[in-house]
């Protein structure tokens, strides 16, 4: 049973609370944008021969966009949820008829909106601020963004369900996040990585987001990315099932 009245209100409050947290906004929404601006400043987007005649931003833009999804999903949402569990905020909700599923849905929807917003800002800035050419179709790219966001939010809730404290969530977030950012190609392009590193990267889910975004941005259709879609879809389904089973208020 979905509690629509509660859900609508809770989504709005969740987003407001998130936007009132300057540090969280900085590390999740603004960092990828700042990375884009810094790289644009240092490297520019001139065609480079090692990158097959494309500019640094042409190659990396989709990685910065993927970063938004990775950071919120692996660190942002689990840390916030663990903090709420630890401080007893979730317990306060438990004293009401609010269902766990409604709470999770509101948090997922709110963070989904934030992910889409963050990705959009990165793409718009790349396209119009640095002239990174867009060859794809908007609806197709949007589908790729939605799928990736949903998959990472399900991972976020699996983590949030099994990690007991906010401190542990921070540790796990950092331990998973930094290798993931580097391996996935979100910061350093896959093209310049050695073969062995790329083999490891195949086990990092964010890699598929980077590849999917890059492909869709450069004009591929969804059918050319069945592998990415299957992996992210699989992550989504397994994640939802696990989170629904594992989530606890306290």
């Amino acid at each position: 049973m979905l509690q629509t009245r509660a859900l609508g209100k809770l989504v709005v409050v969740q987003v407001k609370l998130y936007l009132r947290e300057p540090i969280a906004v900085f590390f999740t929404l603004l960092m990828p944008v700042m990375l884009l601006v810094m790289m644009g400043f240092i490297l520019g987007n001139e065609p480079v021969s090692e990158l097959g005649g494309r500019g640094h931003l042409d190659v990396n833009l989709s990685g910065y966009a993927a970063l938004v999804i990775g950071i919120l999903g692996i660190a942002g949402v689990p840390i916030e949820t663990a903090t709420r569990r630890e401080t007893g905020v979730l317990r306060r909700f438990r004293a009401t008829p609010l269902r766990p599923l409604t709470y999770i849905a509101s948090d997922v929807l709110g963070n989904f909106a934030m992910m889409v917003l963050g990705v959009t800002v990165v793409f718009l800035l790349g396209r119009f601020g640095y002239g990174v050419r867009f060859h794809g179709s908007l609806p197709t790219l949007a589908l790729g963004v939605f799928l990736s966001a949903a998959a990472f939010l399900s991972v976020a809730y699996v983590l949030a369900s099994i990690i007991p404290t906010s401190r542990a969530a921070m540790v796990v977030g950092n331990v998973l996040l930094y290798p993931m950012l580097v391996l996935s190609g979100a910061v350093v392009p896959q093209q310049v990585m050695p073969e062995t590193v790329r083999n490891v990267a195949r086990f990092v889910p964010l890699t598929y987001v980077v590849t999917l975004f890059g492909g869709l941005w450069s004009g591929h259709g969804l059918s050319e990315h069945l592998r990415e879609i299957l992996v992210l879809g699989g992550v989504l389904i397994v994640g939802v099932a696990l989170a629904a089973w594992l989530f606890r208020w306290e």
Partner: protein
């Protein structure tokens, strides 16, 4: 007496080796303020939360408003209000926003603006939770517990941490809630609070209910003595007092005399004996036995130990 809104039968709750609740049974009736008093660790919070369905008892049955706590959780949550001993909200959520949000969780919420007004929080409507004082937070949590206009309200130490004025205001509020036909279950450390506010009181210690009755009956059952206390200049000859029928003991220390005794006319006889003995005395007062004495008699120690 109203019908039973809470029925607890043979409740046992263990945490590892510790038996926090040791086979207790009691009922709460519609329209009463039911109090549970006891020292730290007596098992008050555990009892309350087993009844609310937030902790699972190891043995025994609990019925609340005819429902099974924990099992019929969502239906029950619509009709009860819960104020936790320790409670939390996101630091940046605003007071008005919080009430509006929680009002949306229930099918028949009260008008939350009025509730804010009644609790004296209207001026704080736009303040973030983290900026509220302890007492203001407490009142906000009470407002959250009342937003669904519950038939049964649980309050776990509602006046701990409040100044005397807010405490009195809280008592008034609890009485208003009862006057509207609701039932209240509250826990407290304060015997004064229990005596002043509760229709019936359960005295709890080490997970057991030591006594359960109206405050008057609990005190009367104690057959405790009244004390007459007064000041004298210098020392007086206390023989005139110890000879009075009903007096059991007279103490004299530092210009202060305490006469212990009981029976009807005890106070009058003490005063007339003093008058006729021409002793100059002042600051006379009597100390009636209270729940504090009941606790002492039942457990052999003071509440605050």
């Amino acid at each position: 007496m109203g019908e039973k809104v809470v029925e607890v039968d043979g409740l046992v709750k263990r945490y590892g080796d510790l038996t926090a609740i040791d086979d207790i049974s009691f009922d709460i009736r519609a329209g009463e303020i039911f109090g549970m008093v006891g020292p730290n660790g007596a098992g008050k919070t555990t009892t309350v939360e087993c009844i609310e369905g937030l902790r699972r008892p190891d043995q025994g049955t609990v019925r609340v408003l005819g429902m099974r706590p924990g099992v019929d959780h969502y239906a029950l949550a619509e009709r009860i209000g819960i104020q936790f001993q320790v409670d939390a909200l996101p630091p940046r959520i605003k007071v008005g926003e919080t009430l509006d949000l929680f009002a949306h969780f229930y099918s028949n919420p009260l008008e939350w603006q009025k509730l804010l007004e009644q609790l004296g929080l209207s001026a704080k409507k736009h303040s973030p939770f983290a900026t509220l004082s302890g007492g203001q937070k407490q009142r906000l949590f009470i407002a959250l517990a009342l937003v669904n206009d519950p038939d049964l309200l649980f309050m776990d130490e509602p006046t701990t941490g409040l100044d005397p004025q807010s405490r009195r205001a809280m008592w008034g509020m609890v009485e208003d809630i009862r006057a509207r036909g609701k039932t209240v279950f509250l826990t407290t450390h304060s015997m004064e609070e229990a005596e002043r506010l509760c229709d019936r009181v359960a005295i709890m210690d080490h997970g057991r209910i030591m006594a359960l009755d109206t405050p008057d009956n609990l005190i009367a059952a104690l057959k405790a003595e009244t004390r007459v206390v007064f000041a004298v200049e210098g020392r007086m000859d206390t023989e005139v007092l110890s000879d009075i029928p009903g007096v059991t003991r007279v103490e004299q220390r530092n210009g202060r005399v305490v006469v212990h005794g009981s029976g009807s006319g005890f106070l009058g006889r003490v005063i007339s004996a003093l008058e006729s003995s021409k002793v100059s005395f002042g600051q006379l007062r009597t100390e009636e036995p209270g729940l504090e004495d009941v606790f002492l008699a039942l457990t052999g120690r003071e509440m605050r130990d």
